[in-house]
């Protein structure tokens, strides 16, 4: 066989796209049939947003620069990203590896990046659906705050989602079992959620703790989304850091997850 015949042809590229598309479609269908995964990923952040969003009322008070409910609606978008990236995906990918599903995909000749790309697509779709549900539920209860700077918010949403979805896929491939993935995922997710995103606001924390907490990766995503959304600042610094994290995590996830 000559090298020329092995070069990816147009037909071959179409085949790679086709396998990835089929894998993604099947993954979306399968997640749709898994009520526990859906429940955790979609319902938990929504319920938590409803509870926490009402705790401080709707008037700027207690040190909040704006309506606290709106503060938490913007923050819980990041919680959705964290739930998908740190809990749902690691467990999902690790269980596939543990049960030999990835070996089967590999042995069937699926293109080596197809699974990683499909899982990243699955994560992004999960976050999009979750955020949509969150906003639909929040709208009649607290109202959805207007997006002050749409472009930075959109970029931050995309970069933050890509970063955490990639981290999730990476954790799933690195950890030895679905149980380990769940334990490690929750260990990363819960403190990130409580300290930097969906718990007490950082401005009530002591300065030393605040500095640490505000630089947690999920907190950076939160600042990159929330600040330009609510007009609290441009969020440029956290956005740059999140974009860097997204690039590194994406490269590592795709390299590590090849079939």
């Amino acid at each position: 066989m000559t090298a020329a015949t092995l070069r990816p042809t147009g037909r071959r590229r179409r085949s790679v796209r086709s396998v990835t598309r089929r894998l993604l479609a099947e993954e979306l269908r399968l997640v749709g049939r898994d009520p526990f995964t859906l429940g955790f990923t979609l319902a938990f952040p929504v319920v938590a947003m409803l509870v926490v969003g009402g705790a401080f009322g709707s008037e700027p008070a207690h040190g909040f620069p704006i309506n606290p409910s709106h503060w938490y609606i913007a923050s819980y978008v990041t919680v959705m990203i964290g739930a998908t990236g740190l809990v749902m995906l690691p467990v999902h990918v690790a269980s596939y590896r543990e049960r030999g599903v990835l070996r089967r995909f590999a042995a069937a000749g699926f293109p080596r990046w197809s699974f990683a790309v499909a899982e990243i697509g699955l994560g992004l779709a999960g976050i999009a659906a979750g955020v949509a549900v969150l906003l639909v539920v929040a709208a009649p209860v607290y109202g959805v705050p207007a997006v002050r700077a749409p472009l930075p918010v959109a970029v931050a949403l995309l970069a933050g989602s890509l970063a955490f979805v990639s981290i999730g896929v990476l954790l799933g491939t690195l950890l030895p079992s679905a149980r380990a993935a769940q334990a490690v995922g929750l260990l990363l997710y819960v403190p990130s959620l409580l300290l930097g995103v969906g718990g007490p606001p950082t401005f009530i924390m002591p300065p030393g703790l605040r500095t640490v907490v505000e630089h947690l990766p999920l907190a950076l995503v939160n600042r990159a989304i929330r600040d330009p959304w609510l007009g609290l600042g441009p969020g440029t610094e956290p956005l740059l850091l999140v974009t860097g994290l997204a690039v590194v995590a994406l490269v590592l996830a795709v390299r590590r997850t090849r079939l």
Binding site: M1, L6, S15, R22, L23, E26, R29, L30, R33, D34, Y96, R99, G100, V101, R103, R104, A106, A107, A108, G109, P111, R112
Partner: protein, 320 residues
């Protein structure tokens, strides 16, 4: 392999020379040579841990060998893993599908550009009625048959079946064996990895016996049996008679062609020889005026005996 056998074979599908693979300093495959020709059903037989699965995983490009050369359908799996996998149908020892994936969805997902008629395959393997069933609800036998369907879906030129019937009940095993037999009749080349001697004996044209990562012998099941367990045993009781008559009968038996050993204990006689001895002793018994003994017992040499002998001999060699 005899020259006649070689000349009857098709083109080489798998050619392996000096394949070596170690895990953490432990050599799992040690200088394996393997040839599989088009249309053959070749079995790799060996105890657990003999290196069979690692060897075929190297063929599929799922593991990278430390040394040696491999050609599968003219391609090196190390360099063209994906291209090799696209042309090889695989049923892996430890693999699965998501529990909620339906049979039909698995077919759609794994279908490539050269797909065979999936409805026909499902029908052929007796799982057409489970098309809408989730993978998690399939029995062990149904799962194995689905894996066979998936392995054959893209009209592979080579099918690798690793521990095909592990954990199956006898009925499910028989169904799967029938399926492999159908494959043989369609001319597909099959590499069967198993530790079940009966499976190799029933399905394979040629068998390689592996131990500690090495091939200790290979040949057709009949050749292996002849080389390592070629002795048939015929045992029966002579009718009551005086000592002289019994001695004369034993002398006659001892003069029969192919008899290698004869022993007696009381009236019980044990005759050992190659398979032909069964016919000669049978003819001798029916030619006698006495009725054929009711306790006539024949122990045929089989592949299991050959394999046990082969592995025992190698144990002894290693101990020395």
């Amino acid at each position: 392999m005899s020259p006649t056998t070689a000349s009857l074979m098709g083109d080489p599908v798998v050619t392996v020379r000096g394949l070596t693979k170690s895990y953490g300093g432990r050599r799992v495959v040690d200088g394996l040579d393997l040839d599989v020709h088009a249309g053959e059903v070749v079995g790799i037989l060996g105890a657990n841990g003999a290196g069979k699965t690692t060897a075929v995983e190297c063929l599929q490009g799922l593991r990278r060998p430390d040394a040696g050369s491999i050609e599968v359908l003219g391609l090196d799996p190390r360099r063209h893993a994906q291209k090799v996998r696209e042309q090889v149908g695989s049923q892996l020892q430890e693999s699965g599908l998501p529990d909620r994936m339906r049979v039909q969805e698995a077919i759609e997902l794994f279908a490539g550009t050269r797909t065979a008629d999936p409805a026909k395959l499902l029908e052929q393997f007796g799982i057409a009625h489970r098309r809408r069933a989730a993978f998690g609800s399939l029995s062990g036998g149904e799962r194995q048959r689905l894996f066979l369907v998936l392995a054959l879906l893209n009209r592979p030129r080579l099918v690798i079946l690793d521990e095909l019937t592990q954990g199956l009940d006898p009925a499910a095993r028989r169904d799967v064996w029938r399926a492999v037999d159908r494959l043989r009749r369609t001319g597909v080349t099959v590499l069967l990895v198993t530790h079940e001697v009966t499976e190799a004996e029933a399905l394979c044209d040629r068998v390689l016996v592996m131990r500690s990562g090495r091939v200790v012998d290979q040949g057709t099941p009949t050749e292996l049996v002849a080389r390592h367990a070629g002795e048939a045993v015929v045992r029966f009781s002579l009718p009551p008679a005086d000592d002289a008559t019994t001695a004369a009968a034993l002398q006659e038996l001892n003069r029969l062609p192919e008899v290698r050993a004869l022993s007696s204990s009381g009236r019980t006689v044990t005759v050992r020889g190659n398979r032909a001895v069964i016919a000669h002793v049978g003819a001798w018994l029916t030619a006698r005026p006495a009725p054929v003994p009711h306790d006539l017992d024949v122990v045929l040499p089989d592949l299991e005996a050959a394999m046990l002998r082969l592995l025992d001999d190698n144990d002894e060699e290693e101990a020395l």
